[in-house]
Symmetry: C2
Subunit: 420 residues, 2 copies
């Protein structure tokens, strides 16, 4: 489908400038961005008057467990360790592929309503999840979730299979975390990374206790031991990074690894507050994710981006500790590059049409003293007017084009008893 | 106008129960809440099928400076003191009644879109603001803003005049803060409180520096000196309360004063994090506000309520440090009682029809493991389907019935140069 957006303001994210004009799509790609020009010879299937609303790259949720929507508001009383071992792991044993199919669709509905065009997802029953992604038209990047309880045997198969399943789906090597993975399995992880010259992602330094445990086991922090085992020899990165030492940041900086922040989940589970400003001072590669709905409990990149800025202010006694545009880059371009979506990072001719429209007529986006700051400090999901992935409009004015939201809600609530 | 809401779920906020049934309004009041009964003899002007959506009391924004929407994203680089003295006070000198009229309307648009049905507002040019409130149909409670730069001469006049201006408008005695008000003026404040046996509200213990300054001036904290001067002899309370000592909390508890929290503004201005759990442990009277858009920068009670829960978790290392229902009470019932809206506190027959409808078909409100937790941890303005004040629907499905949002936006942006 070829679409012409006109009367638009466009934040390409190549820089902070907002240009006025048009954006055209040609199937899954952007074919033109620039001033209004004669388009009479073009055969658009739809022409959309943006009325001054803002087009920008879709938000990239760079760490999540989509199907964990099953556990939203289910076990809010636990800190991370008890939450995992008492509330989540026992329920996850009961999870079937059908559960994952429907609860992933619920997450996609949430993502689309919040302007999220791709997710970097670590979870189970990946085949049913991939099916849900393709049916929805959602761009889903899987991350391996192997640990001592399972997953290493299937990792290579998933890597090969899901990387050739559908253009919307891809797969990165990954494991759950150092604290759930013994040294033998970590070495297995490293061997696989070397076999495929592939990046590896994992949860890392999420809690102080995790870092302490690792030090007891290896005498060093998780980043140090994983690096030493060669796991990051071909890149990758870590989720959370709350308790990174300066040495950990140095390793991530030098290897060009991605640090993915999850402010809401870290607050809720009492894990801690990431000093985001320290990563930015070092000009490190950063991205942002929601983590799962069980620990967040929202799946809102707006809330994540907001907290990724302001939570550093109190610690530094500096109201400008973290620059809003840097965070907006982390939430869009950074996330895309982190998960290998090199054609979804910015808006430009030839790039993928993974685009959102923000409604500038919402009061929270006014007045227009600074539109980027309005997005970071003031916006929430209510400003998302449209979400397009791969050139297809999947969400517009509250309506879904590929999801039957009532069916998704009905199916998800059917499973409440199974997973209570 | 008499309206029948049916197929509703109703959270009255009298307790945590959610009942299924109907809610009827009779002009500005609720006339019935309960199971579906024969209503054929009733003459409703409108009957609304709620389709299972949730009716609950409107959110109460218990501390704000509405017209400060002019300063949203205008001066995000400053901590509180520089922000006030370098960025805000010089611009406020240029503010005209016309500015306040339009920027208040912009705030009302934001409030209505976020399910807020009343605000406790401290600002200037109150007559134009009152006019904007009544035109909009918004329930606006003024708080005096007197300090050494002005306001004490007019305070009594405002108190008498605005308390009899319109049923939607009321006025509480108040002053800006101890640090902007000399002892003579504080005594004047106390005399006025005694003359009218009236509660008094003020900014209090917002920053550590403010408390230190007060200790230098009086040898004690702001709560202690204000209490000593008799300012709180007839009740009232304070906004922010970030740096309260145990003694301050004891005074507020014993006098039955309101502590109003403003988590977002305190984070953004690097003022600090309020230990909300300590106020709840003492069973104190608590409410929640957004503060102004210049320091927040959103005006979202959902974001405030969310942060009023989770920000205590890290400090206490307890994921359940603050109970979500207690915070939802603070954001609804507490706010209402704090600002004297004793008929807008809960939903019940005879109470004011200040009601919101939350869209339970939004993915962020699903699955329904726990609806109250979904509201606190997961919802944002995008779940607000309808906002009714005084029996009138002012916002429904993104549309305003009393505001021309495009006119408000146009007028507000006209003033950008005046206030740059």
């Amino acid at each position: 489908m070829n679409i012409r957006f006109y009367n638009a303001r466009i934040l390409t994210m190549k820089d902070e400038n907002i240009i006025e004009g048009e954006l055209w799509t040609d199937n899954d790609r952007i074919s033109y961005i620039g001033p209004s020009v004669d388009s009479n010879d073009k055969d658009f299937e739809r022409e959309i008057d943006c009325k001054g609303n803002l087009l920008m790259p879709g938000l990239k949720n760079a760490h999540t467990h989509s199907a964990m929507t099953f556990s939203r508001s289910l076990a809010d009383e636990y800190c991370l360790n008890d939450w995992l071992f008492k509330a989540i792991f026992p329920r996850e044993e009961k999870l079937t592929p059908e559960h994952v199919y429907w609860f992933s669709k619920l997450a996609y509905a949430d993502y689309l309503a919040g302007g999220i065009t791709s997710c970097f997802d670590m979870y189970f029953h990946k085949d049913e999840n991939a099916k849900a992604a393709v049916e929805t038209g959602f761009r889903h990047v899987f991350c391996g979730a192997a640990n001592d309880f399972g997953g290493f045997d299937e990792l290579e198969d998933y890597y090969n299979r899901l990387n050739s399943y559908d253009p919307l789906v891809s797969f990165y090597l990954g494991f759950h975390a150092e604290y759930t993975t013994c040294e033998d399995n970590l070495k297995r992880m490293s061997e696989l990374a070397h076999k495929y010259s592939a990046p590896v992602f994992t949860h890392i330094s999420e809690t102080a206790a995790e870092v302490e445990g690792c030090k007891e086991r290896y005498g060093v922090t998780p980043a140090v031991i994983l690096d030493k085992l060669g796991i990051f020899d071909f890149g990758g990165g870590g989720f959370h990074c709350v308790w990174f030492t300066d040495e950990d940041r140095e390793i991530f900086k030098n290897r060009g690894l991605w640090s993915v922040f999850n402010a809401c989940s870290n607050l809720k589970l009492a894990s801690g507050i990431t000093p985001v400003y320290k990563f930015i001072e070092k000009d490190m590669k950063i991205a942002i994710g929601t983590d799962g709905a069980g620990s967040n409990n929202a799946l809102s990149m707006f809330r994540e981006m907001y907290l990724s800025t302001v939570l550093s202010n109190v610690e530094t006694n500096n109201a400008a500790a973290v620059d809003p545009f840097t965070i907006l880059k982390a939430g869009t371009t950074g996330g895309a590059l982190c998960m290998g979506l090199n054609d979804s990072d910015v808006l430009d001719a030839g790039k993928k049409a993974d685009i959102i429209m923000l409604d500038m007529h919402k009061p929270s986006m006014q007045p227009e003293n600074n539109i980027i700051r309005n997005i970071i400090y003031s916006a929430d999901n209510s400003v998302v007017k449209m979400t397009m992935i791969d050139g297809k409009i999947l969400y517009e004015d509250g309506n879904y084009t590929t999801l039957d939201i009532n069916e998704v809600i009905r199916e998800c609530n059917k499973f409440k008893e199974d997973l209570a």
